[in-house]
Amino acid sequence: MSDVVVVDYGAGNTRSVRAALTHLGASSEVTSDPVAIVASPFVILPGVGSARSAMAHLIETGAALALRERFDAGLSTLGICLGMQIALETSEEDGGVDGLALLRGDVRRLDHGRVPRLGWAMVEPWNDAYYFAHSYAAWSPDSFATSDGITVAVQRDAFLGVQFHPEKSGAAGLNFLERCLSLA
């Protein structure tokens, strides 16, 4: 069994997440197989595509139920960007989408500054810069890190969601992923 399962939801780029894991010495596989998702010690829900198509794919493959089962069993999952957003209760994206509701709160379109919000930005209280590429952001009572006042990390039990892309955030991102792996 691989160290990490990267959940496939049918669109975009899982290659960079796997490359970062390889760099850290962790083996990984990309799959939407619910059995593999439930059994894995650590799962990454990556961030690509749109909320509606991602949710549709997760429900259709049974991955959505598998992620809920992991959550109830206290197994670690990391959601990245869209992977965090769809773990919340609802999203404004695509005219309104129901999420996995593993995290409390909702997702709203950014309404100030340049959108999409692109580039490296400081994350507090960690005092490190990470790479962001997003037009929507989380509003959650379980926020525990912010960037320019925006919630960029949300945690509830064993699910951690981050808005930034650790796999694209250079050394800071690799250090972050390594901490996540060591805690799993």
Binding site: R15, V48, A171
Partner: protein
């Protein structure tokens, strides 16, 4: 607001980096993978690969370059040149690029911007504009169109472009500084971020560009001395522009 970004641009032809990368410390200055790693280690915030030949056979070569780069790079990168369809964009993004850059194909068919943005999100689509004498140019800046620069930037953003990469033909290659007026005019007209391109000859030039734009594209200034990227970043920061703090892996 995110920090200002410094983005080296690598011109690629037939799978090899071309145009003036001169540095003795590199084993193979033409190898996109080695150069990408080198710039990433040196503090690039992001990279742009521009396929300047972009014939159909190059498209296949480029896809393989993208995959190799994605396997070693832990910073974002954009690929442009030869992206003419949703399939071209899919191949590049699914090989590991973060974003594609569209130029003349977007001008010919603005709906292409929308179709790619619907699939991958606006943040995955950059529209590159080569501007001169107030109008958009095609064919690497050689052919003037009748499309005005600022309205085209606005239209591209409305169609779903997540960023505008604005090159001033007048300034490009002269190393006398960016076209700040043009950059400011475009940035004032759109709500998406803007990358300034063309004219970087010194840290002062880049710092000036970063005061009116969200990012600056640099080419010869770094290619002539790739090891000087860190020094360039320090000089820009000394001029009062905040860049991301560089960090070592622990």
């Amino acid at each position: 607001m995110p920090l200002a970004r410094l983005i080296p641009c690598l011109d690629v032809s037939h799978g090899r980096v071309v145009k003036g990368v001169s540095f003795v410390g590199l084993r193979d200055v033409g190898d996109p993978v080695e150069l990408a790693t080198f710039y990433s280690d040196g503090g690039a915030d992001e990279l742009v690969f521009l396929d300047i030949a972009a014939t159909p056979s190059d498209t296949v070569t480029m896809t393989s370059v993208v995959a190799q780069v994605a396997d070693v790079l832990e910073i974002p990168f954009t690929v442009g040149g030869g992206v003419r369809s949703v399939d071209d964009a899919s191949r590049i993004i699914e090989s590991g690029a973060d974003r594609v850059s569209l130029n003349s194909a977007a001008l010919a068919d603005p709906d292409l911007i929308t179709r790619i943005a619907n699939l991958y999100g606006s943040q995955a689509v950059v529209v590159a504009i080569d501007a001169g004498d107030g109008v958009v140019h095609t064919h690497g800046g050689r052919v003037a169109t009748t499309t005005s620069t600022v309205p085209w930037a606005v239209r591209a953003a409305e169609c779903g472009a997540g960023e505008i990469l604005l090159t001033s033909i007048r300034c490009d290659g002269h190393r006398q500084g960016f076209d700040l007026e043009l950059t400011a005019a475009v940035r004032d007209a759109v709500r998406v971020p803007v990358i300034a391109s063309g004219g970087a000859g010194s840290a002062q030039h880049v710092a000036e560009a970063l005061r009116v734009a969200d990012a600056a594209l640099v080419a010869s200034i770094v290619h002539e001395n790739p090891a000087g990227l860190r020094g360039l970043r320090r000089e820009i920061e000394d001029l009062g522009v905040a860049l991301r703090p560089l960090k070592e892996q622990t």
